[in-house]
């Protein structure tokens, strides 16, 4: 695995205070019908939207922008290399800011 040498970004607050993916709050109003809402629940009980909202709300503007400027990110984003280069893996210890990258 090719490894780049960038060492920035930060998370604010405890990145592990998860608000949870599961709340069983599928709102039937946003789907076309009751059946659509049931299909959505049938597909998965996980509701990543809830966590996403919390992360977006807590996120401090500009944090993680360094990642977008890296050659590695831009090449990955551009879709060069097809399936071989489809993966980008950001790794780091707890609390360094992986969740709040953008």
């Amino acid at each position: 695995m090719a490894q780049a040498t960038h060492t920035y970004t930060v998370t604010f607050g405890d990145g592990n205070t998860n608000s949870g993916n599961i709340k069983d709050s599928f709102n039937t109003n946003i789907y076309n019908s009751d059946e659509d809402a049931k299909i959505m629940r049938w597909l998965s009980p996980l509701e990543p939207e809830n966590r996403h909202h919390t992360v977006r709300t807590d996120r401090f503007e500009g944090v993680g922008n360094w990642l977008l400027e890296t050659t590695e990110f831009q090449e990955w984003r551009g879709g060069e290399g097809g399936a071989d280069k489809a993966g980008l893996f950001c790794f780091g210890d707890p609390g360094v800011g992986k969740t709040h990258l953008r």
């Binding site: 090719a2 970004t9 930060v10 998860n18 949870g20 059946e35 597909l43 998965s44 966590r51 993966g87």
Partner: protein, 167 residues
């Protein structure tokens, strides 16, 4: 189209490969539920992983480009990771323009590499500029501004940045 999922160690039992792939499919399919998904639901079958992958492939093909982001792979049960990464790798092989963005603690690198051998791995660590601007913002919002002066402000910023560089 960007589909995302945050793994959460609080609900490991719910975070099966099927449920994660189902959540991604729900995201990619959007509000216009594809007919084959509706059909499977009406037939009352539980979705199998193979069904979800097939439906996801069809949904992805109808879109210009799909990004799948999964945060905190280390918060999945280790037994689920090979199935999850293998499924994502299958999707990518069938739809090579799909991009997969993953985050996790260093120890999951090995299993990621097994399924995405040529993935770029980027180490993430705290950025002093990010920390400084955040601390300054928080100090500006302090609810006892009369207790603050420039000397104290500079000292707080310095101590926090010093502690961070020792992390």
């Amino acid at each position: 189209m960007v589909a995302w999922l945050y793994c959460d160690y609080n609900v490991p039992q719910e975070q099966t490969v099927i449920n994660i792939m189902g959540a991604i499919l729900r995201h990619v399919a959007g509000r216009d539920i594809p007919d084959d998904i509706r059909k499977a639901f009406r037939e009352g079958r539980r979705p199998l992983l193979a069904d979800l992958k097939r439906m996801l492939r069809i949904a992805i093909h109808s879109l210009p480009q799909v990004f799948i982001c999964i945060d905190a792979l280390d918060e999945c049960l280790p037994k689920d990771l090979p199935g999850l990464l293998g499924s994502l790798s299958d999707i990518v092989r069938e739809s090579p323009s799909t991009r997969v963005f993953l985050t996790g603690r260093p120890h999951v690198s090995e299993v990621v590499q097994r399924y995405f051998a040529k993935a770029v791995a980027i180490p993430v660590s705290p950025n002093p500029d990010d920390i400084r601007s955040y601390v300054v913002m928080r100090l500006d919002r302090d609810d006892v501004p009369e207790a603050m002066d420039n000397g104290l402000r500079a000292e707080i910023v310095k101590i926090i940045l010093d502690k961070m560089s020792n992390m």
